[in-house]
Symmetry: D2
Subunit: 424 residues, 4 copies
Amino acid sequence: MPENAGRVLLAYSGGLDTSCILAWLIEQGYEVYAFMADVGQEEDFEAARVKALKVGAKKFFLKDLKREFVTELIYPAVQANCIYENVYLLGTSLARPVIARGMIEVAEQEGCDFVSHGCTGKGNDQVRFELAFYGLKPDIKVVAPWRIPVFYNRFPGRQALLQYAAEKNIPVVQTASKPWSTDENLFHISYEAGILEDPNTTPPDDMWKLTSSLEAAPATPERITIEFKAGLPIKVVADDKVYTDAVDIFDALNALGRKHGIGRIDIVENRFIGVKSRGCYESPGATILRAAHIDLEGLTLDRNVRALRDQFTTVAFSRILYNGHFFTPEREFITSAIPTSQRTVNGIVRLKLYKGNVVIEGRESEEGLYDSQQSSMDELGGFEPTDASGFIAIESIRIKKWAQANNRKGQGSVAREDVYGARA
Amino acid sequence: MPENAGRVLLAYSGGLDTSCILAWLIEQGYEVYAFMADVGQEEDFEAARVKALKVGAKKFFLKDLKREFVTELIYPAVQANCIYENVYLLGTSLARPVIARGMIEVAEQEGCDFVSHGCTGKGNDQVRFELAFYGLKPDIKVVAPWRIPVFYNRFPGRQALLQYAAEKNIPVVQTASKPWSTDENLFHISYEAGILEDPNTTPPDDMWKLTSSLEAAPATPERITIEFKAGLPIKVVADDKVYTDAVDIFDALNALGRKHGIGRIDIVENRFIGVKSRGCYESPGATILRAAHIDLEGLTLDRNVRALRDQFTTVAFSRILYNGHFFTPEREFITSAIPTSQRTVNGIVRLKLYKGNVVIEGRESEEGLYDSQQSSMDELGGFEPTDASGFIAIESIRIKKWAQANNRKGQGSVAREDVYGARA
Amino acid sequence: MPENAGRVLLAYSGGLDTSCILAWLIEQGYEVYAFMADVGQEEDFEAARVKALKVGAKKFFLKDLKREFVTELIYPAVQANCIYENVYLLGTSLARPVIARGMIEVAEQEGCDFVSHGCTGKGNDQVRFELAFYGLKPDIKVVAPWRIPVFYNRFPGRQALLQYAAEKNIPVVQTASKPWSTDENLFHISYEAGILEDPNTTPPDDMWKLTSSLEAAPATPERITIEFKAGLPIKVVADDKVYTDAVDIFDALNALGRKHGIGRIDIVENRFIGVKSRGCYESPGATILRAAHIDLEGLTLDRNVRALRDQFTTVAFSRILYNGHFFTPEREFITSAIPTSQRTVNGIVRLKLYKGNVVIEGRESEEGLYDSQQSSMDELGGFEPTDASGFIAIESIRIKKWAQANNRKGQGSVAREDVYGARA
Amino acid sequence: MPENAGRVLLAYSGGLDTSCILAWLIEQGYEVYAFMADVGQEEDFEAARVKALKVGAKKFFLKDLKREFVTELIYPAVQANCIYENVYLLGTSLARPVIARGMIEVAEQEGCDFVSHGCTGKGNDQVRFELAFYGLKPDIKVVAPWRIPVFYNRFPGRQALLQYAAEKNIPVVQTASKPWSTDENLFHISYEAGILEDPNTTPPDDMWKLTSSLEAAPATPERITIEFKAGLPIKVVADDKVYTDAVDIFDALNALGRKHGIGRIDIVENRFIGVKSRGCYESPGATILRAAHIDLEGLTLDRNVRALRDQFTTVAFSRILYNGHFFTPEREFITSAIPTSQRTVNGIVRLKLYKGNVVIEGRESEEGLYDSQQSSMDELGGFEPTDASGFIAIESIRIKKWAQANNRKGQGSVAREDVYGARA
């Protein structure tokens, strides 16, 4: 019988891994409290509670974090058009900070010396969780069994875990194990590992859980409108229903996206630890929202603000989220300028949803940065064409100087640079 | 009868505007040579030639620039994933440098003192053409009638042009004028002005010229593969046909994209002159190619190269293209690093095309930067999980310091920052 | 006698140019009010007032803008370490926004339809003033005589102005004209034009007005301390005197810098209009402050915040200031994140001033981000050296993969790349 | 007696630490070869050779890497104006890649399975060496004793090393140990640790080894010229001597800088591992060269190239160097654009060296991007002032739109934003 090793709060999922970890932590002498976060995943929380306590947890905590997930993480990311490596909308990354904060709050309130999780040693999530823990409570201690040799050498595969579960009387649900792993929350579901580790294997149709397949999606398009205020969605109208609550809006967009097959992606991405990894994701509502927000920014955001925001805020915030640097000074710095960037992003976007497509059909705003007379090719609209001559003359000053120098040196740019031919 | 004002090479389109400009230039005493570039637009070049000469051009030049358009402009932009304001693939911008270069070559060969064009004073194209002219031949002189008061005051609208055409015996094709303007080349077609100036007007179905509507696109998906070498497409296989020539590849992808309704967009963008403008575009082949190239980079491009390239090359080259800064030292600087960035982008991407969607179904490469064993969540694959502990410990050093300082000051980050609530 | 052309507020300097402009504007039928800003330049404001009224100004306004210049422009630029093209501290750029705002306030209060200035058509200041005017009052009209052909053709040189002054009874101070132009405010003085237009001409010793020459500066070093709070200087101690007021601090640093020959530069810079221009500047106090602020950030600013701020805020804000984009949405956006970046920049820097050098002699802070035990090479200080092994192992994953691929292809990086030899 | 553990190539310095490591490695069963790089440090290489062999090294290798250090590392960094955290010129970072490459070459040639070094577990150099090793030879194995518990626990301080040296008959030079550590090469010398760990301790005068103190530097200024071709120094003229060889040039500039007290700095920097660290550096020649190169770029480099290069190449290459990422794909990517950026950086800079100051006195070039007529404030020089009106009109379009919107909302920017007052 080991000494009392201290009290640990375990991020518990109800599955085989964290149930075995729970039992193993007890075996190591820890007093284990189990923690679950409701971030919108499809889960039988009550069954998980019963199971955790049965396996030996002294207490069980369930925190509903859906609202803060939406309002504190998802919506700022929407405002900043966050995306990782051109494709991934960061669904898992976004959930980690609120889960970690929920855990630290319980750990502080319950006097836990340790927090623990079931993340593997190769993934991003171990980093995201632990850096968040340390950013919130720098003296917290972390137990990461999948990085502890006595643990991972004892459990080299699923079979060893099943055997341990049998020993410890841990109930195992007799579902056929899927040949991939998933992580789900109200923003998205991810799929990785297993058969997906061959990047040339097309995911089977029945893998995709949230969205309709393109082929099965409705043959009739659906029109919706989204109204934004300061870059945040404040009203969605779809099928004669109106949604104005922050969470309701996201839920409604999810339902619409799922129905119309919107938001599936399949990529090879670069994990923070430098390993390439193949992942598939479904982010139905977020995909719609992103398309609408980007469109409205076209109408309402100043060109130079947009350019600076795209090159810095979007890039930096996306990387911060992916790498788990949410509770850091750089995140504070980067996000402190988001509200200013979104001050004018007010208006309504009209969308058509159809078989995977989010088609922009129109947009309107009272911001007044767009002026149809001014942009019109058919009328002067207060515009003096000769001004453009002056503009071009000034813009060409340095270019002419450079071209003159080139010509003097015989390096005129008329010369061809056939990148394609050069390759051959 | 005016003095001989000199010889001018006019960018001629065969339409009403440039035909009237041709006649007007002659009226001003210029000897006018007409120039047309074949950049893949649908056009009756012979009819245009006949018309130009009939209106009074002394010579007519047609240059087929399709291949250099594809190999010198489009493919580098594909390699760099160029895009403007998140949405626009830069189809018009890409054609301008080759057209301008073609004109300058003819102007030099024919001893023209002037070049002229029919671009309006509010648009991007005047800037793109003229900066390109000056970057190639800094002493060229430009006649831009739509910025010359005596011209634009004389022709305040279409009616005045039609009347002048009648006076000058300029044949006018009796097609009903479309309530928008277009610009076409083998990369794309653009639509702007007219009814599109209200950003809330949905473009009519019959506006879209190139692509099938989503609803009318085939109900059966089509699978294709694209092979890349150094980031350039070198082989497309579709419907049992194989394309390996640079131009053939682009043409084949265009045909596929058109068939499956791929590549329509509708945006409000910010012109270089600072005016917001609504534009619609169809870029079928380019949309497919972009999706495939980005995907393959996931498998074959180093993470840090990708991040730097995305933030630096993609952003800078896209802006350079949009603003017409192709023949400039900064373009030379930016593109000189593209080949290095693409050295490892070799492999094959498998795609499904269906009703506007470009679905990645798999990819393969022999580069070896992806290692399924290493990324596997199910096996160690030469990976030492304890290394990740060290990595996280080091990564957390500065974060812990900051968190300790926060805690000392009572500014712990556990505090909520509800951006959504803050707005209300 | 011309019609009443309206009321114009003229930025008046008391010199020959703006006195002639004043008279000329009256000649054109304007009612002219004269405006002077006290931004710390050495000037006989009373003499200027008398002269303006004598020449014909209906009213004269003098605004003391020194405090807002320091607190609203200079100090944010210090917080962001602003600098243009590695060298120029932006002294003229920083003054323009407060002067323009002062003018617009008077123009609104006095019902002026126009504002006017004596800037030439080739410089930065015309752009800075006018974009500031428009950003504050978009319907203001600007009269820029040096860009009006009837004016600049009438006054092709100094002689023509002198003759006009004689005609108009404008008093001309009989100082020998210096062969360069200057602009002075409490931040700096600039020198350009005249003999400086040859970039290879060394400025004569007697040109430099503010600072002691290096040779003549005291042979004894002087020690001072600067205390910062949130990146702003709040206390300077020098020669047993203590300065705590925002303006007093800047004045004291200026006196110290002037005495010790600090802050002279000589550069060729790129104006916003694309012309290269040679300028010399003296910024004594600002140079000291910049060195101290940058040093303290080393001790107190998180690494990642610093890196993002340097690449983003510093670069963007410097360019915004130089190009006269202060009253714009992008400036609002960029500066809105400065306070967050400076939250921890608290502490004291000790400096030695000696013959042009600002030598950092020490710094201290209670922020606690620096930990001498942790950084010590002589003790472990709570640091686990094996963590670094894990860090390096993880950091090397992608590099090894790339090196393996290189080796397979026979492209190992051991190969030399002698950039110097390649040149020969 | 341990088994034969394999052959290891040890980076040997001749000092106490690496001599003890040498003996200890032998004790662990390794066959040890000793390696020294001559990168310009002041060192008795022959004495070190004798000592290494005496302690037990089987072979000793000395490589003169000075030329490649200058031409392959230093000069590209000069071309890119590399600097870390505004102050540090990267002298140690620059030497590491050539030393690591020298070692890997010997290791391959001599069939060593291992490389070893004496870097501590808290510093940058362990990372720089090892990432360079892995980037060159991914299968090399590294022995880092200061990160191996049995080693660092056995040698907790200098006393334990001295005792071990006595046991092993390792000769110890009886110099009084300095209360700081140094690293020297021909680019610079660094000082850290010991008494410098208190960031408020002023370094003692006798610490600085290379440069004259400001007070003791000559009372007479010295004039020199540096000629650049493609951004590289190709001729230095000083005191009637002419230097044209790459290494001679750097040596000559070093001698000049040392004489005139140029290039001392004292900073708190952020190490790659996230720890803040205080360092002092002397980089005499590099400081002169940097000032001259930056100045010449003002005259000869296009504005937009400069801006893009500053924000990306300089920042990225500096970070790559500091973090030891030289043999990586991102370094290849970033440096591949340097030659294009430097194509026009040709010309001569005249400098005055005096008591720590590098004063630019003039510069000339035949590139022709500077045009004194064009920049002249006193003549039109082919410049049309009305063009500037057009330029400003176009530049103000979006600013006016934004200002109109502000005014409609009552959010005019005339409102004060006193950052200084806000703080109080």
